[in-house]
Subunit: 367 residues, 4 copies
């Protein structure tokens, strides 16, 4: 098990992380992974090798279709295939687990989540309305047999079944099994921040699926690590077939309405930028954010409900924005720190970030 | 005083109007006009003749900067110069009176509203933040000396000072003094609807500044009145210098958050369509909507407030949408029914809708 | 075969339709349907009865991934599950057939289109980037076993294989097999308009999947047919489990960039409004639009290409907008006129519009 | 005259700047300032002291209303009062100089630009349509008598008259006369980058009006200068009445349509983030971008024009995005490096960045 960046004594930002420094520090949030690593050698399209998976994020452990949560989405770069965004924009709610996977697998994962919702809600689409499903993706085709769409219903259901709060596994697993970041092996990363408020603290958490960037752009705490590691073996993403993407899921227990959650989401790319992300033209970068502070019950008979909300001008908004930026920055770095080397199709290698060398530079440079 | 369409026994839609059938039926809402009709004859750019004005809509009679209201905006066709939309989108609030005027006068009216906000809040911009001002406009240059920008600070302040609840004057006055609609004289129109809910009724009101359309497109209750009045003298807007626009202000006492108010606003163009509006390429069509159900106090010390809200799936949402469509349809028609003939620059004539002929057709056709 | 509304001598709007009065009048556009009508009687979720299908619209008959077309999307009401919108917004292109289906089937249809793109482009996701797929949907659960997701890969491929230009079948087939509109049987409708320009004519076409509305709101050419047919047997959608939706696909041969195509798309709801559509809260209403005037080749080596474009202020823009409104209005009406009665699950009946009675009223009323 | 950051040998990013390292490196672009620094001592609202101004950016030296340029806008944080955005979104063009000023002065500056357009186009609003004006702003009330709205028509016209290509003056002048950035004196900054393409180079330029940030967040080339300068006298913006904002104007000679320009604009905040900007809740952050590659003639008789465009997948898009990020980062830093100390109202001091100390740290840390 590789260590997280904070295990090396490196702090990102000024806010304190939560207990697990993970999106699951937001009470109730659960994360589950299914990792598919099968076969080796030459790519046989549709057969393998398989280096992919699915990661699910559940706002709470109850029936999400019955107990929706306030949510928002934000598209940094729309060159991607994320689903479910239109309804989140219109209704401001999330009503199913969020799933991340590979880009060509979106349809099957979407269908699997529909199946899951039907199982939990046998009247779905009969007595009730349909269900909206948010699926995000990046292109793991450098290592993975992308055309095979190997993530099937059973893998999605297994990820949901295994989802738990507490520590979140990071690196080369789940939807991050086959992804590349800054020319090294990327994957899943997560982080959290505590935001002090006058009437109690709030928590913000982020989970990212990283699959973007050129080596020489990588920055860690301001240090141009990418350029400094110029002799390290690396895969320039410029040489790969696609430019990758990043999916960002944010959670908070602050009581925010959808419009305010979207403000949080729009800050995520500042966190990316602090790692050296240059927002490439062909990178689909999306943010999904939800609040666990309240649940919006389906089909309430009464017309009017009372909702908690933070005022636009509350000082704590600045803290929440800062927390988003810090979480995203650290989550991206942890996806690199925690990812193991993965050898994929056609002998393509996703090399693990050489953490010792990186720490040499950081220790030399950080004040 | 010309009669409203409903005074002729013509009902638009199926919901009942409020007491005044005006935006002021939403308790607290006030409307004020200043009408500028000066000079005659040939256009002397910058001097006259003047056929313009300003109409202000106040969500309540108190200090709006201190007691903001939830709000949203919606752009049907962005070929226009409306101001203040970015902040309403970001913060979901309105913090100054909404003003409507002519297109080149937006800057001076905006400045006048800033002056008004400073007068009411002497610490504005010193101890507090700046103020956001929503100004809408249409192009009344067919009748008016547009370049003269004749609406000045005193006219805006007079409109605010005279703003009142109760009956709203309609037709060729205020921001509608010089506008044209479907080739006849347009102007200000208003209407309201009562929306029955399980826990009490809500009110929706609309006020429009109409300045769009070709004669032959006009439809009243489905009857192609424009084509039927083919021998009536009329000004084809195709012959005028600009294609006009429509500004729509909506108010409701239903407790809706900004996202939901935007949903209401997005329904307004269905009301326009039912009058025959074909959404011309050069027509700037904008909607501003606010709720009076709650006030959002500036700079609240506490972080969390409780807000009332209607659930997305509450049945009453359909009623509110229907009310918007009906209000907008009737308000446009009333702007035509109430507008008197206005002779403007260069002998241009804005001919009043020939109501008797129109009613002949309607009485013959309506079932 | 039921007759179209125009076969009864009823003209909608003032522009002339193209040769087939169908979206396929835009040269190159192809439409294909697969209709699934299997089983009868009581709903056995997952088994049937099946009353659904898929309709595909292809901008041209060549490889769409290699030869993309300029495109845009517009969301009238985002309460729906349409996919692929983010990338169309970002890149302004369509690169796969557009498919319409039932709401829970979106995942499988999306996956089928990915499979189709892989078959046509064996290097997809290996040497090239991923593919973006636009799928639209409405909820046909009143008649159909929605949970069964009966539209499978073979059905999508069959629809594509059978897609042709020329006449388009309308009514209760393809994605419209199980839909309801204004309380009667809805389905697929299409129409087209010729827009005269100074340098030649343009064509605009629309295809709709109608699944919305209450009986008493239906308007045909301004006549409140819905209220007039008050004794006709009908299904009030208010009594059904869902409020339905409408999907609108627009095509044109006018050379428009994505931003301008979006302007066209935003006019579609005026066409809906003219049929009495009240844009219900729970109706997902989406528009997809593309131009066939130019093809955007994938991965062009050169940086700069020359593109044709219509100026913002060209008079023909008004004509294109008008054409959109007229096409959508007529396509909705044709979906009703052409739909046959369909008996679905649990004995639910989608009754065909009683055209004779409707025409009685129209003939009596239209001037 | 203070030196720019690059004069100290500090390079930002990897692309080369243009000749002047200014937005005016984009051929034809002109910049003009009017600076108002009048009075001293205690704030007398409406009278002074005055520490403000206006900066104008002209895409070319000809009549902009007659020869519009492709343009786009992007709102990072809509808590601001920028005008003219709706029409740029709808039509994709800029048709007047862009002006930057203080937040309460937007109305008068807008009106002055309308006056300027009328003077250049005597038929404006008579034979032609109205004119759309883009004005940006930040709140300079910490130093300036904001309520006075001291920027009048003559100041705007003087800025336009003095606008020139070549070197751009930076720091405490024009719209940056009274602004604060990271607790030090901010102001106007600019930079440019050359983007190599296969068929020739493109230029991207940025001009910023900086008025945001807390001291301890400032980062220069990754070095946390803000925290390192912990003993330097500084004004924490947290103590001032407003949180400030940043206006960003981008120019390029690359032939991009509006949709693509918006993609450029959406990258600007990554440049901000690299300076330590944390995108505070109350900071209105806006981007305006235009291309000089082509001019869009008003009211062209012909319908179809040929437009140059870069393909979505052209490799040069990544370079253009990188250029935006680097330009914005350097322009913000130059606004700090070039700004002189300004003493404003009530003895408030905008202290110039202690460049020697900063360079000590940078020289010690940069590799």
């Amino acid at each position: 098990m590789r260590k997280r960046i904070r295990d090396f004594g490196v702090e990102i930002g000024e806010l304190s992380p939560g207990w697990s420094n993970a999106i699951t520090d937001v009470a109730g949030v659960r994360v589950g992974h299914t990792t598919l690593m099968v076969g080796e050698g030459r790519l046989l399209p549709g057969q393998g090798p398989v280096r992919t998976g699915v990661t699910v994020i559940l706002p709470h452990g109850d029936n999400l279709f019955e107990q929706k949560v306030p949510a928002a989405v934000f598209t940094i770069n729309g060159y991607g295939k994320a689903t479910g965004f239109e309804q989140v924009r219109e209704l401001g709610t999330l009503e199913a687990p969020v799933a991340l996977t590979n880009t060509l697998n979106v349809g099957l994962v979407l269908d699997a989540l529909v199946g899951h919702a039907i199982r939990e809600n046998p009247e779905l689409g009969i007595q009730t309305s349909s269900v909206n499903v948010v699926v995000g993706e990046t292109n793991d085709g450098y290592l993975n047999d992308l055309q095979g769409r190997h993530v099937r219903q059973e893998h999605v259901l297994a990820a949901i079944a295994s989802a738990s709060d507490g520590m979140v596994q990071q690196g080369s697993l789940g939807a991050g099994a086959g992804t590349m970041c800054f020319g090294w092996k990327g994957g899943i990363g997560t982080a959290s921040r505590i935001v002090p408020g006058t009437s109690g603290d709030f928590i913000v958490g982020a989970l990212v699926q990283t699959n973007f960037g050129r080596r020489r752009d990588l920055i860690i705490r301001g240090i141009p690590v990418g350029r400094l590691l110029k002799d390290a073996p690396v895969v320039e993403s410029a040489e790969t077939g696609d430019k990758g993407s990043v999916m960002i899921v944010l959670a908070t227990d602050a009581p925010l309405e959808s419009r305010q959650l979207q403000r949080l989401a729009s800050r995520a790319n500042a966190g990316l930028a602090r790692t050296g992300c240059m927002l490439g033209a062909e990178s689909g970068d999306f943010v999904v954010v939800f609040s666990t502070a309240e649940r919006i019950l389906r089909d309430q008979p009464e017309n009017i409900v009372s909702r908690l909300s933070i005022g636009n001008e509350a000082r704590v908004m600045d803290g929440l924005f800062r927390a988003v930026i810090e979480c995203v920055e650290e989550a991206v770095l942890d996806s690199l720190f925690c990812a193991e080397t993965v050898i994929g199709r056609d002998g393509h290698v996703g090399i693990a970030l050489p953490v010792d060398e990186v720490m040499d530079w950081i220790n030399r440079m950080v004040i």
